[in-house]
């Protein structure tokens, strides 16, 4: 019961994320989404095994505190407050997000998955979060908003991985930690290099690098 509410809230945060223009707020919402997902393993009725506790704590700390902390610090350095002129406007983004969510539900119903699992909402929510993350990555200009998009994308993958937690918790944990590591690493490089090379965090500058 509780996990259904958490998942519904996650999907709702997706909509908030695509509709907001303030960078600070989108970091906040992404952190909130991370906390929601971090709490999710505890509500699945799998007991409070050490692996599950460890995973929940790791997810809440990393997704809800550590990455947002890094992002806020980066934000304070570069004095950006709003995402101005995204490639895709906020209204259209919202509509696309709704479309993506609807499509996820259709897809999830038709995918050849093991039927009768306890996680009826997991697959559509995971796909919807995935699409939202992609939407943010594709439609936003500022590197920092793109990192938020990546975080959301990551959340979608995490949600997908949670379905396996009962069977192979260690695998899921390591996979998630690896994903996070790679994600932060890559985006750290992107942010750092754009701001060093171009004195700005606008990813449009990267187009100069093509041959």
């Amino acid at each position: 019961m509780i996990h259904d509410i958490l998942i519904t809230l996650t999907v709702l945060t997706n909509f908030t994320l695509v509709a907001t223009s303030r960078v600070n707020k989108s970091i906040q919402v992404a952190a909130f989404q991370g906390v929601l997902l971090g709490l999710l393993p505890l509500t699945l009725g799998l007991g409070f095994h050490i692996h599950i506790l460890l995973m929940a704590v790791a997810a809440v700390v990393v997704k809800g505190w550590f990455i947002p902390f890094l992002l806020r610090r980066a934000l304070a350095k570069v004095h950006i407050h709003r995402e101005v002129h995204p490639y895709i406007g906020y209204t259209v983004s919202l509509m696309l997000c709704a479309l993506g969510t609807g499509m996820s539900i259709v897809l999830a119903h038709n995918l050849p998955l093991k039927p009768g699992g306890p996680f009826a909402l997991f697959v559509p929510a995971a796909l919807a979060t995935l699409f939202t993350g992609f939407l943010l990555l594709v439609s936003r200009r500022k590197a920092i908003t793109q990192v938020v998009g990546y975080l959301v994308l990551e959340n979608g993958i995490y949600l997908f991985g949670l379905m396996l937690i009962g069977d192979m918790p260690l695998l899921v944990e390591t996979g998630i930690l690896l994903d996070l590591f790679v994600g932060i690493f890559v985006m750290g490089i992107v942010i750092n290099h754009i701001s060093v090379a171009f004195d700005s965090m606008d990813t449009r500058q990267l187009a100069e690098l093509k041959d």
């Binding site: 897809l107 038709n110 796909l127 594709v138 200009r141 992107v190 990813t203 690098l209 093509k210």
Partner: protein, 650 residues
Amino acid sequence: MSLYLLAILVAALSGVPGLVTQKSGAKEAAALMSTSALLGILASAWVLFGASESGNSILMLPATALISWGLVSFDPIAAFFLVPVLLLSATASIYGIGYWGDHQSGARQVRFFLGLLAAFLALLVGATHAFVFLLAWEGMALMAFVLVMTEDREPETRRAAWIYLVCTHTGTLLLIGAFAVMAGATGSFAFSELPQGFASSGRGTAMFVLFLVGFGFKAGVLPLHFWLPSAHAAAPSHVSSVMSGVLIKMGILGFVRLVSWVPDPPGWWGGTLVALGAISGIMGVALALGQHDLKRLLAYHSIENIGIILLGIGLGLIGKSTGQPALQVLGFAGALLHVLNHSLFKGLLFLAAGSVVHATGTRDLERMGGLGRLMPKTAAAFLVGAWAICGLPPLNGFVSEWLIYLAAFRGLALSRWGFPLITLGALAVIGALALACFAKAYGVVFQGQPRSDQAAQAAESPSTMLVPMGILALACAAIGLAPVLSAAPLDHVLSMLAGNGQHLPTLGSLAGLPWLSFLAIPLLLLGFILWKWAAPKPYAKEQPTWGCGYTAPNARMQYTASSFADGLVQGMSWVLWPKVLGGRVRGFFPFPRRFESHLLDPVLDRIADPGLRGTAFLLSGLRFLQAGHLSIYLAYVLLTLLMLLVWMVV
């Protein structure tokens, strides 16, 4: 067996002393490589001359892990191919002391990678599992790439090395596919006999075609040869001798292994090989005729000789599929012996060519001449190699070509197909053209007057370069004078190529090899008499060669390499399309004129190069996909993901 593995290890480590010590390490490398060759050839001799299987138990002492897992086995095929591999590597290594001294760029690297190349080659011959085979194959290809790249400052070298890399990787890709198909039939990646009837099925055909193209790239079979001339010309000469003598033979090793796995090859397999062999042989030597670059000329001759080997294998395969043991024995024996012979005399020729290049600083035939007087020992070595490669008695080239001729004559009597006839015609044409080509090469390089200052100031090479040539020349002579020695080893190898339950007649009973030795003695005598007769008489006046009786002849009046071959090249211009620039002289008092003629490679310069350029031009239309915007790249990922999801649902 453990001697074999020890030989591999010693060869692999031969370049290491040069890397870690202050001294150059050239002598250490040569000593280690020679030790490796002695060990390996001893092991081979044990297997090839060993009367029974139990005879080599002393060498089998500890069954190492590689053998007990069935990854490597030192069978007669491996033993036979190991001999040229290690002999040529050792002679190249000794030669390298003088030829690629420490003042040359990357001398240490050349030694190190040459050692590794020898080790991978030696591992490859004994591989009996697809993974070991492919591993050694790739190792060999990469080491050869690094060695070709030695003089990477020259754009020509870089181009040659890249073409080689592309070709060898294409070949490996096809081989991976071929081994996968084969494993599908036998159920394992370890080499074993294919099931009866598989060869005639559709998948058997696919396997054969994949193997044919994959091994054909390495061997330099004609439409796939185009990497070979430039790579051989660009590499240092002792590396060229290993590449031409041994590396391209690994393609032949592949064909030989394939023959040993297939109990019932369809008739068209052998027919294809005969046809390809005839094309490679004739076109290879025809293209060699028009070359101006000494090493490119030799490289085209490698293509020709691969053609001859394929003719033999093709006839043997026809014999196997039609159940004619005599054809099988003679064809395969001729091909295998030619593998050994070609590596001996082509190695010798490349070393002699290297000696010439070392002395004159150029590979251009038009700038040489008159070197026979300045470098008599190199000239003698080159003459021995040229004599052998033309298939003239009493040297070794004659023996193997003679066996293939015998196979073709047998086939003519036994078979209803025209392939033996093709073989006979091709061998005759190849022999004649090869003779013309080496008359040109030897004449232009060593006879006449020097055509440039570098040639006039050339000096004989140091003894470290002459000794390896001497070893190879002696080996050529030994096989030519006593071909009987090769009969027992060849019978051992042939027994592996027989069909299941088939008993092959011995080579000795079919070929009459001792007669060749008897024939050689009067021939040598005749040669000696001719030489004495042709020696300058005391009353003769010294005149430049091709002086035509002019009062003041000079070096520019001589035949050039182009003019010597011009008649034949023009005669074959309908296949060769020589590119001729300028040259026509008009009027009674003409002005000075330039003349150039080039022979473009029919595949590389006329098909592959324009084709790839065209493909690149067409594909440049897709460049808009690379927009430079991260968001657009991510959108591609999203689209792909969506399409995959939709594809899974629908």
